[in-house]
Symmetry: C2
Subunit: 274 residues, 2 copies
């Protein structure tokens, strides 16, 4: 979405889980994983037997500034070594077979990982190599499996995307942003009194220009106009603009005379009534 | 996580939203976006003024088989053209400023998009170019903004990652997988009667070998053993294996005599009591 961030501010926060890439093949992907981890507030990266060795400059080039994560990445020969100091291990696994183990969704995993962190235990999450995924021995090292709910007819999930989904859920599990809110920045939502004040102004001008001259239809038309402006969650700033628009249009109309746009006025009435 | 999928089975499902990449720069990223879309069950891709033109072979090479999405991708000169036939437009925007508009989280956006689809309306989601993101005129074309809850000190989200998070939430919004379930495959969770049967077998053998000879401590030790086996959600298959293990160890012990591992037995008692 945006360009390179400075890496200066990404420091480990609390007891976040360790991401363990098992036999990763491409340094590009390792860099992309570090970037995804930084996006979601994960900071501990371990590699088990990376195919092309470590460090690899390409990883840093593809991490968009998540340097600190790569600088502190540690390398292990086996999964057993990589998880030896952890209390709880999760293994991502798109198609587990013949395994008796609890399976979590990505969201369930995030809740579990938050609970583990709150108990001051250390958790790790295993991600398999790009093509084959984790093998059966890798998964036997884990307490829990994680399977993302995704399109079952297109399971080919890029390694960094897999890390991204988990990092996103990890962050979201502790995030209190409401699913929807009106962003008003330097202004604020108008009060009902301010909105009423504008509607009175508008209806006065519409009466003056003849837009509401059909008296039997007038109450319904006024209600429809009212419904439209209520729906938009108008702000105080926008009301000032709308007052200005009504005033200026009314002045223009007075200067030009009223004949030429009588038809246009009728069109608008039709549109508002629909 | 795994290798290339066949693209044959990914066909448009229902009224899924259109992903609109605005002025995308890299064909690699367009391919990665298509792959992420397929993962999450999104199938309609539009491009607005792609920097390097369209089609680009690199996109297909980087889509891991999401060919159908790329084959049917359409190109527009402007955002206005790209959204003209849509009823509702969302714009992803990591740092909106000076804009009065409802802001949704990724999860809130998925709920909104599902609701729009259920009303048989067509929605689109705008994603900005890799470096700059959407500009102010792009965002003025949208009804709603989408801002993902992610680490505010590392906002550099790769374009395909941004699409992945939305596609994942779109899929998850209609997914009923429980956050945690025990996968038992061809076996099943043991009944309490089956578990009791095993525990009686085990305790009998532990009595026989002297492991439970400290009579004042015996009830607590038995309870602790019971707690451990209850916790594991043991399956019928695993109980058969455990019966076999106890039987075989008991035979071995009888053959070897009991003296040499008396200390080991005490160790285990300590461990279980802790």
């Amino acid at each position: 979405m945006t360009g390179r961030d400075g890496g200066a501010d990404i420091a480990p926060i609390g007891n976040s889980p360790v991401i363990i890439l098992v036999r990763p093949q491409l340094a590009d992907n390792i860099g992309a994983c570090a970037r995804a981890m930084a996006n979601g507030g994960l900071f501990h990266l371990r590699l088990v037997a990376p195919r092309d060795g470590w460090p690899q400059e390409k990883a840093w080039r593809n991490s968009s500034g998540a340097d600190r994560i790569l600088d502190t990445t540690t390398v292990f020969m086996t999964v057993a070594d990589a998880v030896a100091d952890l209390h709880r291990v999760l293994a991502t696994c798109p198609r587990p077979r013949h395994i008796i183990k609890p399976v979590l969704t990505a969201r369930g995993a995030a809740i579990e990982l938050r609970a583990i962190a709150e108990r001051n235990l250390r958790a790790g999450v295993l991600f398999g190599p790009e093509r084959a995924g984790l093998d059966n021995d890798d998964m036997a090292q884990a307490d829990l499996l994680v399977r993302y709910p995704l399109n079952p007819v297109f399971m080919s999930l890029n390694l960094a995307q897999a890390v991204m989904v988990l990092a996103y859920e990890w962050w979201t599990a502790a995030d209190a942003t409401p699913p929807r809110e009106l962003m008003t920045n330097e202004t604020r939502v108008a009060t009902k009194g301010e909105l009423e004040n504008f509607l009175v102004h508008l209806v006065d001008q519409l009466d003056a220009c003849g837009f509401l001259q059909n008296l039997p239809k007038r109450p319904g038309m006024v209600r429809n106009i009212r419904h439209f402006f209520q729906r938009g969650e108008v702000t105080a700033q926008e009301l000032r603009t709308l007052h200005g628009i009504v005033t200026e249009l009314a002045i223009g109309r007075r200067q030009m005379g009223r004949l030429e746009d009588a038809d246009y006025s009728a069109d608008r009435a039709t549109a508002i009534r629909r």
